[in-house]
């Protein structure tokens, strides 16, 4: 099925329509599937409550370890699954390039911001959806950041990022032993997730609406 929508205007609505048209024509899943991926993503993030300030800023203060436990488990399981999916031709790698300056300067800024805001770009929108107005203000800051980045990309940010050293993976260092390396990596990362001690920082304002027996902090 080929959908052709005429979307040439410059107003906000036509540009949102153009966004959807871009998705339809780029061959990375149908519009409905991408939307569904978003719904499930938002649902998982919300249901596990990792979008809470107490989870990410709490981890920065080492008072909560749910986020690293969940992240490492996701990486451990996915790395093994993805590798074998690629082997049978069901998926491809999409590696980001090694740009030393960009990664280090960007990583430092990102870490500082994550500790202060208590969100990241994936969990932030979910907490806006559950009514966190302070995060909405953060998102406006983010949009201004995106604007500045776009405006000064050629003159300032691109040179700051430095040159790409290619798209290496850990497997490139162990040619011939890929299967073994992926299994060790996946298992070690999964073990890290399990072995990180579970510490939780609860938010009473979040849990007070629940009956006592449903509250994870009263078990």
């Amino acid at each position: 099925m080929d959908i052709v929508v005429v979307t040439e205007g410059q107003d906000l609505l036509s540009r949102v329509a153009q966004m959807m048209e871009n998705v339809i024509h780029q061959g990375h899943g149908s519009l409905a599937l991408v939307f569904l991926i978003g719904i499930i993503f938002g649902g998982i993030i919300q249901y596990t409550r990792v979008d809470k300030f107490e989870k990410i800023a709490g981890f920065a203060m080492l008072k909560d370890t749910i986020v690293p436990k969940m992240l490492f488990l996701t990486v451990g399981l996915t790395s093994i699954g993805l590798y074998f999916m690629i082997k049978v031709g069901w998926a491809h790698y999409h590696i980001k390039p090694i740009i030393w300056q960009g990664l280090i300067i960007g990583g430092i800024l990102f870490g500082i911001a994550m500790a202060i805001l208590g969100k990241c770009p994936g969990t932030g929108p979910v907490s806006i959806a559950e009514g966190r107005i302070d995060v909405l203000v953060g998102a406006i800051g983010g949009l201004i950041g995106g604007l500045v980045f776009t405006l000064y990309y050629d003159d300032f940010f691109k040179p700051l990022m430095g040159d790409s050293l290619g798209k290496l993976t850990l497997l490139d260092f162990f040619k011939g032993h890929e299967d073994l390396v992926i299994l060790i990596f996946g298992i070690v990362v999964t073990l890290i997730a399990i072995l990180i001690p579970k510490v939780e920082l609860f938010d009473d304002a979040d849990l007070s609406k629940l009956p006592d027996e449903a509250r994870p902090d009263k078990k």
């Binding site: 980001k96 798209k167 990362v189």
Partner: protein, 169 residues
Amino acid sequence: MTNRLPWWMGGILLSGLLLLTFSIYGADRPIGASTYVPYFAGVIFDLDPDKYSYLKEIKNAGSWEGVMLFGSLVGGFVTSIFITKSFRLSLIPTAWKKYKNGSIISRLIWSFIAGFIMIIGARLAGGCTSGHFMSGMSQLAISSMIFGTVVMISLLITGRYFYNTKKDK
């Protein structure tokens, strides 16, 4: 039905979603969540997409993530109302009051600054928690491991010195 999913269930579900997204029967690409921000900035501030090289570069990834973002707003909203019952309007997190200060103005100003720095940082590095940490490390990408390590260190140092963490003792 439980009101909160345990971390291991969240990890398993997220991993399933990632594999679906990566697969050729799904979207044949990783999950990412920071390219949509400059894309939306382009839309909202009415920048001509043909004039700015960065907007050309992120046209596809930005719109893909933009649609996914709409989905995650819906998913987050519905879950917060019907399952976790955590929807409420608020201006300041409980832990901010406890470990930083009780001022709403201070929280809003810091939120704005942090949001600004966050997107600059993510775009410099070419990804965020989703694109680099989750999707990238799952592919054993060296770039993502470098980013993940730097973010972890920077996050913990900031957490240690930005907040008054001794307060509950």
